[in-house]
């Protein structure tokens, strides 16, 4: 059975290493400050006992004040999982660092989030639209995208 690790416990572990990096934590998952996202992700991937080498999914949700990008991480070796989130504010040009350098599976998924939400991922090698055509204007999955 894949053990869903408690967000609070991992948050305490991360706080010791990277102070002030956790915004919020709960048993279901933890929210990381966007400045520390790459370092925390790298720590989660390489730390012994955690070993999150498999990125199950990345999604984004539009809560009107902020965008929240959700990372579902899994460890194949220990068979446990964790939910990490990061928030970015502002509707004009929200951006987050890209985790493609750690998990290549993020490649197409981040392009899709850019396409449908407009979130810019810094450091992504090929950030262009993937499911919509190149000249499309707007980002459809935003809550304020009016179709007609």
């Amino acid at each position: 059975m894949t053990l869903a690790l408690s967000g609070e416990e991992i948050a305490k572990q991360i706080e010791k290493k990277f102070p002030k990096s956790i915004v919020k934590s709960s048993p279901e998952g933890l929210v990381v400050d966007r400045e520390f996202l790459l370092e925390v992700a790298s720590y989660l991937k390489t730390a012994r006992g955690l070993d999150f080498d498999y990125l199950t999914a990345i999604t984004a949700v539009d809560y009107l004040d902020y965008f929240e990008v959700v990372y579902q991480l899994t460890s194949i070796k220990h068979n446990h999982s964790l939910v990490v989130k990061a928030r970015c504010y502002g509707r004009e040009n929200p951006s987050l660092p890209s985790v493609v350098s750690l998990w290549r599976g993020a490649d197409f998924q981040e392009r899709e989030i850019y396409d449908l939400f407009g979130i810019n991922f810094e450091g992504h090698p090929n950030l262009k639209r993937i499911v919509l055509w190149a000249g499309f204007e707007g980002h459809p999955l935003r809550k304020d995208y009016l179709r007609w």
Binding site: M1, T2, A57, T59, W103, R104, D107, L116
Partner: protein
Amino acid sequence: MVIKTEPFVVNFGPAHPSTHGVFRMRMTLDGEVIVDMEPVFGYLHRGIEKLAEERTYTGCIPLTDRLDYTASMTNNFAYVLAVERLAGITVPERAEYIRVIMAELQRIASHLIAVGTFLNDCGAFMTPVLYMLREREKILDLFDMVSGQRLTYNYMRVGGVSQDIPEEFIPALKKFVKEMPGWIDEYDRLLKENEILLARTKGVGILPKELAINISASGPVLRASGVKRDIRRADPYSIYDRFEFDIPTGTAGDCYDRYRVRIEEMRQSVRILKQAMEQLPKGKVRSDVPHLTHPPVGEAYGHIEAPRGELGFYLVSDNSIAPYRFHVRAPTLINLTALRDMMVGWKVADAIIIFGSIDICVAEVDR
């Protein structure tokens, strides 16, 4: 004097006989060798995730049918599992067993298409496809009995299944389960040791183990590369912990291993079907929940082992009758991340085979 040669760009365009759906590959060729490749898709994007935000939770079930239309039952299964996790609903025993039977039958049907079209791409001119489609017709007859549909079933509901199985279903299923291993052996015998097939698929399009984990591959693609991860064992959902089955894995991660893994998985599915049929209890097929599901505020991620990989649904609820966010973790989209790495250096003829062995369904890639 050296003749100057330069690579040229060919488009394996959206309309092509053997890209499984509308999928475009821009290849840069040097003679017959592929030097560079870029996949372009999005030709079948219908905005399912946005459409789902305006439909009720039950009304989204037909949308999930159209995601990977060759494996509708498992799509339904993953979605209702996620909603039940979100709303905290339990499912009666009989419904669980019926769901498992449908999911395993669907796995066999989907793998028949996958293996048949893969062999067709290798050039065996339709003979394997037609034999396998003959078996798939029997499965489609079973599904027709249950839901009245042959392709997009819309059968599972939040809290169970939509209706009970008719009386003629179990005898027909018994007959199918008795004959199917013989048919699988026949396909195996025809082509397993064929020299030409071995020469064309062994060692072709290798996906190494570390790369497979790094790109979040799942399903037969991951297992053929040597990683023994199957959601039915690693994170058992529904009642899969009551059944005995093996998880076939490959060693080399080439096209031949992916083909073998799928054939072996069909055998294991027949095994699960036999056990599920014997243990099928009586009872209700749907728990007493209101038709309009009204889950509390929260989020849930529910995933299953679909024939093509790990299909997951991420749902966010804001206590209304429609999902606030409906996201599909499409296994085939993520499996395609390594396509360029697998193809560069091989020839045009291999490109089609490598692409066919990943077994995509463009409706799921684009959603």
